[in-house]
């Protein structure tokens, strides 16, 4: 798997900490998870991303022990945790609504887990002070949760979970209730915190941007099935399914049928000529039968405008339909000359003097095999 450069050094030495093996979850006749296999690596920031109802929170609740799988196994350090009750699992949760105890002060909330374990008074005091300092709430110990803002409550919930030094911290859409600015701050804070405490974070969200900016790896869910797991750049540039290809912003999807393999790439036959797409890290695409209907996914920013012929693996004659200035970048819409029904979107950094193209121009678009991805239907 060609891990993207920023993640390469981090993924290399990791080992599997928790593993979901063939997990199914049914509520009555409704199947909310289907044959989920997922390995969570020690020390990573893994985001489970999906639209509502995709089963992402269900995975978190299965790990936490709030619900049991209908079938399949969950192994921690190689041992099944399915029979282990919630209160004995070495994982802690930050709840979507924070779930702070309203009748206890911030101090008491944070100390709760230590009290349960019978830790001595003095040790509790010093550890609570340290935990509150980590989340920058040192002054707020004597307050009640109702006297705090949303962001502060969020941090109390984090301190309360982290004070127990869990092997995995489970975060269930913890930023959902915060406004945009606070959300960005908390994203930064969580990423820094995760690096400091070196705890495995499993973070659930439905926000693509949040997932991309925060995670070491993302697990994309749809309708109870894992679509794809990988580093953000891999999901962004090398999607394997139509859903993932369309999930993170604009993408060009070109329909075709699979042709022959040649080294690390395959040919895709399209109505406007053959395209070549790399298959590295895409064993399904590499192994799929000739003639299978697929799509080639290529990002608007990866398309080159008017490349010299022969300098790109893929080349296409087009007519510019529209050039639209949208601020720091400009959108260029181009139609294939052979097949005017096929449109492509390009994105270019805007220039004060314009991009040198105008609607009606005949030109070409090109890109390399490594810059696109074969998406199986």
């Amino acid at each position: 798997m060609p891990a993207a450069p920023p993640h390469a050094d981090m993924t290399a030495s990791r080992r599997t900490l928790l593993e979901l093996c063939g997990v199914n979850k049914l509520y009555g006749a409704t199947r909310v998870l289907r044959d989920v296999d997922l390995a969570i690596e020690d020390g990573e920031f893994l985001t489970i991303l999906g639209p509502s109802g995709s089963g992402k929170t269900t995975i978190l609740r299965l790990i936490g022990g709030f619900i049991a799988p209908s079938s399949g196994d969950i192994r921690f350090d190689g041992t099944s945790v399915v029979p282990v009750p919630i209160f004995k699992r070495p994982f802690n949760t930050v709840f979507q609504d924070y779930a702070l105890f309203p009748h206890m002060r911030v101090n008491e909330n944070v100390a709760y887990g230590l009290r349960v374990r019978g830790v001595g008074r003095e040790e509790i005091r010093s550890r609570v002070a340290r935990a509150l300092a980590v989340v920058a709430l040192g002054e707020f110990g004597e307050r009640y949760p109702a006297q705090l803002s949303g962001g502060q409550r969020q941090r109390v919930a984090l301190a309360r979970a982290l004070i127990l030094e869990p092997r995995i911290l489970l975060l269930d859409e913890p930023l959902g209730a915060l406004d945009a600015e606070l959300r960005r701050q908390m994203q930064q804070f969580l990423m820094r915190l995760q690096r400091e405490v070196r705890t495995t974070f499993v973070f659930v969200t439905h926000d693509q941007e949040e997932a991309i900016t925060m995670s070491d790896r993302i697990c994309v869910m749809r309708e109870g099935v894992i679509e794809q797991v990988g580093p953000p750049t891999e999901l962004y540039y090398r999607p394997r399914t139509p859903f993932v290809a369309g999930f993170f912003g604009d993408n060009n999807l070109l329909e075709g049928t699979l042709g022959g393999a040649d080294g690390a790439a395959r040919t895709v036959r399209t109505p406007f000529g053959d395209l070549r797409s790399a298959t590295a890290g895409q064993p399904e695409a590499a192994a799929a039968a000739d003639g299978r209907a697929v799509k080639v996914a290529v990002r608007p920013e990866n398309l080159r405008l008017a490349p010299a012929e022969g300098t790109c693996d893929n080349w296409l004659a087009v007519r510019i339909a529209e050039v639209r200035f949208v601020g720091p970048i400009s959108h260029i819409l181009a139609h294939s000359i052979d097949r005017p029904d096929i449109a492509l979107l390009l994105k270019r950094p805007s220039q004060a003097g314009g991009l040198g193209v105008a609607a009606g121009d005949r030109t070409a678009i090109g890109w390399n095999a490594a810059e696109c991805s074969i998406v199986l239907q």
Partner: protein
């Protein structure tokens, strides 16, 4: 309607319908009877009589004790029932809750008659105990005495204890219980440190309902109390009904009112929100 008139109505109606009768009682309590005439001169005559005669003060204290006992027993029985109701799910829950609410909709008198036929010397309970061999012959323990008043009041007021506790249990977010377990707490620890403290406001409301209604009740003692089950409420009733001593009756009522208002303030203080809202 003008805003001023609306405010006047909102303040005026309660004042006219609640405060005015109270004020009338308070004034009456300082008057006295001379034969069959009310002497409309203010004096502490009735209050002196209350403290000096050895009937009313002991009866009052005994009735306070009775009301406290009823309240305590109702908490001890009502709390587990409320917990049980709160743990039920779906249709079963509301069927069971309804079962405990329906008695509140029935006539008080009918309920007392029903209880009398259960607790009486020849009642269902005695027959059951004799039939099962627990007792050799029916006991008079359950009816026409002070214990009968205690039992009857407790049973009658139990729904008023269960409901507020049930509501306060229902209002505890599930995620708090999950958070407690997630932090390593055994279910018993969660009960003592999360569920119980958060349901106490319900207990306080239920206890104040129960205590206030028990201390002033005069029908139950009249109907199941027999000779020994005479209570303060019944004494107030008899001052108005049989003794025709309205000033003394008013004075006894004022004492009762003071205790009831004190109980309400105590309940408000105990149930005050700590750390504001949840």
């Amino acid at each position: 309607m003008r805003r001023g008139a609306w405010v006047a109505l909102n303040l005026g109606l309660p004042a006219a319908l609640i405060l005015a009768p109270f004020a009338a009682f308070l004034v009456h309590s300082f008057w006295r009877m001379d034969g069959f005439h009310v002497v409309r001169a203010l004096s502490l005559h009735n209050y002196r009589r209350f403290v000096s005669e050895d009937i009313f003060l002991p009866l009052f204290l005994k009735t306070c004790e009775l009301a406290l006992e009823v309240t305590a027993i109702a908490v001890l029985i009502g709390y587990p029932i409320a917990v049980f109701l709160a743990t039920l799910r779906g249709r079963a829950k509301y069927a069971m809750v309804l079962l405990f609410v329906v008695p509140l909709l029935m006539s008080y008198i009918i309920k007392i008659y029903a209880l009398r036929s259960i607790l009486g010397n020849n009642g269902f309970l005695n027959r059951l105990l004799v039939a099962t061999g627990v007792l050799e012959r029916p006991t008079g323990f359950f009816a026409y005495n002070f214990t009968a008043v205690l039992i009857t009041l407790t049973i009658l007021l139990l729904p008023l204890m269960i409901l507020p506790i049930f509501v306060s249990l229902e209002r505890i977010p599930r995620s708090l219980l999950e958070a407690s377990a997630d932090l390593g707490a055994h279910p018993a620890y969660t009960f003592w440190h999360v569920i119980l403290p958060l349901s106490l406001p319900g207990v306080v409301v239920g206890a104040s309902f129960t205590f206030i209604l028990a201390i002033g009740d005069f029908i139950t003692p009249t109907m199941v109390g027999g000779m020994t089950g005479f209570t303060y409420g019944a004494a107030v009733f008899s001052q108005f009904g049989t003794a025709f001593d309205w000033p003394f009756g008013a004075m006894l009522s004022v004492v009762l009112l003071v205790v009831v208002v004190a109980a309400m303030f105590l309940a408000a203080w105990l149930g005050r929100p700590r750390g504001a809202t949840a």
